[in-house]
Symmetry: C2
Subunit: 292 residues, 2 copies
Amino acid sequence: MELIDGKKVAAEVKAEIARDVEKMVTEGHKRPHLAAILVGHDGGSETYVASKVKACEECGFKSSLLRFDENITQDELLKAIADLNNDSDVDGFIVQLPLPRHIDEQRVIEAIDPGKDVDGFHPVNVGRMSIGLPCFISATPSGIMELLRRYDIDTRGKRCVVLGRSNIVGKPVASLMQQKANPGNATVTVCHSATPDIAEICREADIIIAALGHPGFVTADMVKDGAVVIDVGTTRVADPTRKSGFRLSGDVDFENVAPKCSYITPVPGGVGPMTICSLMKNTLLAASRKVY
Amino acid sequence: MELIDGKKVAAEVKAEIARDVEKMVTEGHKRPHLAAILVGHDGGSETYVASKVKACEECGFKSSLLRFDENITQDELLKAIADLNNDSDVDGFIVQLPLPRHIDEQRVIEAIDPGKDVDGFHPVNVGRMSIGLPCFISATPSGIMELLRRYDIDTRGKRCVVLGRSNIVGKPVASLMQQKANPGNATVTVCHSATPDIAEICREADIIIAALGHPGFVTADMVKDGAVVIDVGTTRVADPTRKSGFRLSGDVDFENVAPKCSYITPVPGGVGPMTICSLMKNTLLAASRKVY
């Protein structure tokens, strides 16, 4: 069993990006610039945005953080987005989700210029990914594919089971895994809440990608010997032994599943660290104008 | 075994659309208007466009056919598309594919206003379908879903195997079948050229949707008793006994597979007739401004 070290790979990717950025700057180009919009003071969102700002520094990007009160109107937020769309110094930007309830998230996502949509949530980017055209791929699916690539895991013709059909993980990662590409070219089955026989389907899988948000869902009896297991779950579970009062739990019963695997991602330290570096990759891509 | 009669269902759908159109007109709205751009004189394209014009008549739509010489430049074609985008009388339009080689098809598709893209090929419509937002769904996947709906075929929790991962059939029908909807909610596996064990996977399927373009690919030994088989293949096979010199062949060995099925679509007369009526549904939807 080999542990897939997302933290190490993420550091490698960021170092590569930093090298590319220095080369760009040496050649007279401006530094890539990622902006983030943060509405309100949600604890999780603050943490995510802070780590994105830190990643920008590691990559040599310029970063801007635009903070708005949680009472901002939808029109004011749309105006701020329009300003970023029109700001030629900003290569890409994100609007940290979730947004307050009075704001229509989908409306906000669709207001972002697809060419600056480095989160890859705009329908144009989702559609282009499905068709197989150049696009910004959203962070988690992109991070998973990067891990498979870096560990040189053979996916061609393999049976891949994706657990979960969310718009941000399950659907896009299924789409990428079945694409005519490497990694890709897998035979993908998507399981979800209406699937009656998930355990049986998982037992046939060469690769399991678990993205249900259901701690410990994937147990050892569901995994065949030698399988590759990618755990996308990050649910906060109460843990009084921790100072924070919680720990992150994956969708996989790691202790019992890991010994059966050829490769497995831990939680934390597997897929998680890759998501931010996928955002950095998209920002570099946006700055190099290679997509749009 | 029940034969799924696409010709009959398509006639019913068109009759329903025609009733809706007469109601719209009685209420003072204008007739829906579908325009089609046809470049050159490809025999297949001429036939398709003619049948679309005829379907418009059956539905009470206004239709326009814009013909261009095969030597039209890409810029001239893009200009014609811009004119249709700006023509408030045109509710929806299609550019009949394939286009001559000197024209970039993807560029043409993306030039169409997504709100008039009744073929549903624009990335915005593809992306919105994947996310589960209102959109124009392309004709073949939409026609398949309509057949499942009209025959009240239970898809929830069923194992569905899609053969083929094309952008116009395999990928979108897989996306629709796994969506949280009815029909939908199936556990979908997509097989393709890199899948080594297609026969084995098919044998587990409650529903097989074959869209490979490989005549007679699905044989009786690949189908379990009681399965639902949807045959999207329409390959021209030489047949000297026909006046035309060819016949249409599906992807399924119908003669031997049909006796094992609970439901099966014939070729021709199954999915084929549904595609045009899906285009008519999209045009009515575009005219009612219910999507964009």
